[in-house]
């Protein structure tokens, strides 16, 4: 978990720098670490890190390519076979940036965060495992 938290903080700084420097003419790139699959990349950072059990959080998400669309964000506890008590919503902010609201992990343990991203006529599912103490 601590590794996750450190990663998120680092990514927050990186995303911030990217947002300041990016322009439409620059190639779409997300600083590592990011989730990648089938030509799609997702970088994300939780607002109000660290993520805390029983507290809502929002996420700033960056997609590559920049014209990719976020079509679903969800999280489940695979071992418990249940999801969140909330359905996340999201909105495009432009230039591949998205904001996700309504996330809440109501138990400690392993959560599987899922992003469904549509690009070039295909939808890819990218996941990341997060463990809350």
């Amino acid at each position: 978990m601590m590794a996750c938290v450190r990663r998120r903080v680092w990514l927050a700084c990186s995303l911030g720098a990217f947002a300041l420097n990016a322009s439409a003419s620059e190639p779409c790139a997300i600083p590592e670490p990011s989730l990648k699959k089938g030509g799609v990349a997702v970088g994300w950072v939780a607002e109000n890190s660290p993520i805390t059990v029983g507290r809502h959080f929002a996420m700033n998400v960056r997609l590559c390519p920049a014209d990719a669309k976020l079509v679903r964000v969800d999280a489940t506890m695979p071992e418990h076979r249940h999801g969140m008590n909330y359905k996340a919503s999201f909105a495009a902010l432009g230039e591949g940036r998205w904001r996700v609201e309504g996330m809440m992990f109501h138990m400690p343990g392993r959560w599987l965060l899922r992003f469904d991203v549509s690009a070039a006529g295909r939808t890819e599912t990218l996941t990341e495992s997060i463990t809350l103490p």
Partner: protein, 366 residues
């Protein structure tokens, strides 16, 4: 491994257990103002709410007040097994930190939760006109109200006055915070590696705490400084009542979605930013028979226990979790609630820990 006590019987906590223990503090937690209530934290509103809380004139019969069931001398509950609603009256201590209100979470703000008993025919049975008339004729109440919301003119909507009164009641209730406990002293001592202070926490409570944050997995739902994740669970208690099945969270969500007083409605201050939970919460079949995960703070003063008040003592609660009927629960993955099958000594230790979550005044009276 970290020795919890250099003097008393040595209880060792793993780094994971230590982190979990520290996550149950510090206490008191910082109070976050409710942005759906523009007078939350306002001293005039708190004082007006405090007066109204015990004012029998709020009820249609002039015989009941909020304090009739939420008795300040009983940790703001009534000590009864169940009320006419066949649910246990919850304490109001620490209520200002909650996200959902009532055992079914039918309301999403403390002011909306305060409206429900005002209007309920089985409780105060007050109409908006009754509340507005009281406010207009009582000079003291009127002065305070005007300072907060502006003048309650003759053409002001009674409904709006009722909601504003509920917001002052909420402002008062948000100030009700449970006192520090022996566990809090232990938790802070652990954070500071203060061996002498750690040793003051009884060994039995330490052993019970180890079960709580370890094998018992109690912390899965009873998390954070308030010992609740603020959500809902089916822990294997019966939900059939004399009048039929109590739908619990399922019914609560149905009420929430249709209420004009939820955070998405016209009476809420603060806009969409104060309504994140309400906007995103979903209703699922598993919600049927789920009830709110209560805080464990102040347990000694808030008997009886569970949504229906069916457990008279903390020992009875521990016994339930030791022998819970797992076939009654519907988890198809890893079992979150399961029979702990505690030995008598382990049950006593877990009980000792739970009792240590109460402040000195509760402990003296037990």
């Amino acid at each position: 491994m970290i020795a919890a006590s250099a003097f008393a019987q040595s209880i060792e906590f793993s780094p994971e257990e230590r982190a979990r223990i520290l996550s149950h503090g510090p206490w008191p937690a910082v109070h976050e103002l409710d942005s759906s209530n523009r007078v939350d934290g306002n001293p005039i509103a708190i004082e007006l709410g405090r007066k109204l809380f015990s004012d029998h004139r709020l009820s249609a019969s002039s015989k009941r007040s909020c304090a009739s069931c939420h008795d300040p001398k009983r940790a703001f509950q009534d000590g009864l097994r169940s009320t006419r609603h066949q649910r246990n009256t919850p304490t109001l201590l620490d209520v200002g930190q909650q996200r959902w209100f009532g055992w079914d979470g039918a309301t999403d703000s403390l002011w909306a939760a305060s409206l429900a008993p005002l209007a309920a025919k089985s409780e105060l049975a007050a109409t908006p006109a009754h509340i507005a008339a009281l406010l207009r004729r009582d000079r003291t109440l009127n002065v305070a109200y005007t300072a907060l919301f502006g003048e309650a003119t003759a053409d002001a909507a009674n409904e709006t006055i009722l909601v504003n009164i509920a917001k002052t009641l909420a402002a008062f209730q948000a100030t009700l915070v449970s006192p520090r406990t022996p566990f809090d002293e232990f938790r802070d001592a652990l954070a500071q590696n203060d061996s002498a202070a750690i040793a003051k926490y009884p060994s039995a409570a330490q052993r019970g705490l180890k079960t709580f944050v370890g094998e018992g997995k109690c912390f899965f739902c009873h998390s954070g400084p308030a010992f609740t994740n603020g959500e809902f669970a089916d822990v294997g208690r019966p939900f059939f009542t004399k009048s039929g099945a109590d739908p619990g969270r399922w019914g609560g969500l149905q009420q929430l979605f249709t209420s004009p007083y939820n955070r998405l409605g016209q009476y809420a201050d603060g806009g969409a930013q104060s309504a994140v939970a309400t906007k995103h919460v979903i209703q699922e079949p598993r919600n049927f028979g789920e009830f709110k995960v209560p805080s464990l703070r102040g347990l000694l003063g808030t008997a009886p226990y569970f949504h229906d008040g069916s457990a008279r003592r903390i020992e009875d609660v521990v016994q339930h979790y030791s022998t819970v009927d797992e076939s009654r629960l519907h988890a198809d993955g890893e079992k979150i609630v399961r029979a702990l099958r505690l030995t008598p000594a382990q049950a006593r230790d877990l009980t000792a820990f739970l009792k240590s979550l109460s402040g000195a005044s509760s402990r003296k009276s037990k």
